[in-house]
Amino acid sequence: MKKITGAEAILRSLVEEGVDTIFGYPGGAIMPIYDKMYEQDHKIKHILVRHEQGAAHAAQAYAQVSGKPGICFATSGPGATNLLTGITNANLDSIPMIFITAQVPSHLLGSDAFQETDMVSLSMPVTKWNFQITRAEEIPEAIAKAFHFATTGRPGPVLLDITKDAQVNELDYRYKKIKSIRSYNPHPKLRDEDLQEAINMIRESKKPMLLAGHGILLSNGEKELLSFMEKTHIPTAVTLLGKSAIPEDNPWYVGMLGMHGNYAPNVLTNEADLIIAAGMRFDDRVTGDLKRYAVKAKVIHIDIDEAELNKNVQTDLPINTDIREFFKAITPKLNYKVSGEWLDEFEKLYQTEYERVIKPECCPSEGKIRSGEAVNVLSDKTKGEAIIVTDVGQNQMYAARYYHFKNPNSLITSGGLGTMGFGLPAAVGAQVGAPDKTVVLFAGDGGFQMTFQELGTIFQYNLPVKMMILNNNFLGMVRQWQDLFMDKRYAETNMPTPDFPKLAESFGIESHIVTDRANLETAVEDMINAEGPYLLEVKIEKESNVFPMIYPGKAVDEIVLE
């Protein structure tokens, strides 16, 4: 057998697992791998970002739109530590990713060598699994394990830290994918008695409600969910990361849950007599005060991760299985339809929200342009078919609330970690993963400035990303809290912004500023129709607040409209 180097083995193993795109940044310790990539015969496309954090966010978005795991390369020390925000983000949002960081030669480990960081320890709390490779022979098995852990069960990021000598030394290379590992059960079986009990509980319910989370998208269970809804007519709400699992014109779709979610599903959570929580994890931004959550309801919670069951909300029927399998099994066995009256209650509350919040936000006739209005225009012009990437804060909530998502995995946003600066690099990754789709970023002026060096990546690869900066010269969400809870003491939230179009221009990116309502539609059209990348700065109302809102510590039904 021909011996090859560790670096070569890494690339070959990745190709074996179907990898064709890697996001990364070279540096001293990882040079042997990059040197092998230079030979080009692996047909791996490498996207050179401008900062490792950008590589992590880009690879995450790539994973979400392409359905393949996201792959990241970074060198030892600062290259590796720069990934940490991105790894943590992927961990909280259960994204399958493989991070490969280089490490100093094994004989220098632990000696504070140049650019040495104990990356395995640092990444331990924020990865599903990680491993340090110090010998070239360990590479194939470690990579096979990494893919197995990252992509099965509840997906998540894994990290392989590879010493320089392991990259350089030779090994007898043979690759075998891993099918199972004895300590790890990624396919917990649905038990018949649980299924029967779920059927009974649903049959007995008069006011059931389904809460659909990210698990639906992660298990590719959208179709199964829709069949279930169609058969039972159970009103279904989504979490932020569950958005886009259901086309929003579905008659039983009742909106988004949580702090800035829709009025009806939040209020009626406390009227429901049955909550079916499907592939979601009762985040505190969804539940508000746990003691006053789902007060009248029995709870069925289905999740592939057993540790999520009874973690936050006490459950009457915890079911540890894949959500898609659950719907597949239950729908044919269920003869049940919910009464129209229950659905009418949602409709009534929606009308209230529409009159008091949605209409004034989307269709104002005076004052400055509003964020919801800008999102709404884009939604119309793209017919709900664009891939929407957001940063974090008000821009994120407006995008989630006012874009009418049609296709699965078309909202890429930072959920659990709430990472400002996520947006632009994620838009890069989304466009690389879906080159033929329209990818639109909504970012605030603050978050955009956190990672705008990735304009360089957009420029280098001529990625046709459309960027909408909603500029209010404020860190809007923090300002909103200062307004509501801190007596308008705007500590460090007022931020001057650079000339964004000029900035875009320096990267050869087309751009435009829109300040008047009258020009908004044309400006958005021009942006969508542009062939290449395009930056549209929208000057928005300086001090607008996102509503509805469940104030911190309040119950879901205490949600306020203004």
């Binding site: 331990m124 709390p125 491993f131 300590s183 991760d305 973690k311």
Partner: protein, 180 residues
């Protein structure tokens, strides 16, 4: 109500797993009373015995988070009455203080034994529950204790089907088999 719980976990023998497990306690600000890691009856499988004092609800969540780790085979928790458990204590006492007092009587009464005698000190060993070794410590305080050390808890469950019986049913990881 806070009570004493003993958590037993079986894992692959891989570097870093101890860290991964203790992080779960650190994150929730749980103090580990004692922790013992050793090999189990199955080659390549390690056994963790972790004692914490907390509420059962929380202990359940922690155990699930341990069991969820991809390299952990099984995890479970027990109350004191469900297990047989022991700690071992060693007491180093200066020879001068020991020589006059009735050490023989003490060793007999407390079921302890002398394991080493040197020119300047003697070493006494006692196995039992914390209260037992503590009690002996209180008595020996009247001597000149040069050093005192107590191990973490080791435990075995009183269940008919031992958790560890599960280990025998485990397959060997396929990559380890080397059949390619």
């Amino acid at each position: 109500m806070k009570e004493m719980y003993t958590i037993t976990a079986f894992s692959e023998n891989h570097i870093g797993l101890l860290n991964r497990i203790t992080i779960i306690f650190t994150r929730r600000h749980i103090n580990i009373e004692s922790l013992t890691v050793s090999s189990s009856e199955m080659k390549g499988v390690h056994r963790f015995t972790i004692v914490i004092e907390d509420e059962e609800e929380l202990v359940k969540k922690v155990v699930k988070q341990i069991a969820k780790l991809p390299e952990v085979l099984r995890a479970a928790y027990f109350q004191n009455e469900d297990i047989v458990y022991r700690e071992i204590a060693l007491y180093k006492i200066s020879i001068d203080s020991a020589i006059d007092k009735n050490l023989e009587h003490l060793l007999r009464e407390y079921n302890a034994r002398m394991v080493d005698i040197q020119k300047d000190f003697v070493i006494i060993e006692k196995t039992g529950h914390v209260e037992d070794t503590e009690k002996l410590y209180d008595i020996l305080k009247h001597f000149d204790i040069l050093q005192f050390v107590r191990s973490g808890r080791i435990s075995i469950s009183k269940q008919k089907k031992e958790l560890s019986a599960y280990l025998n049913e485990l397959p060997i990881n396929e990559y380890v088999k080397g059949d390619f």
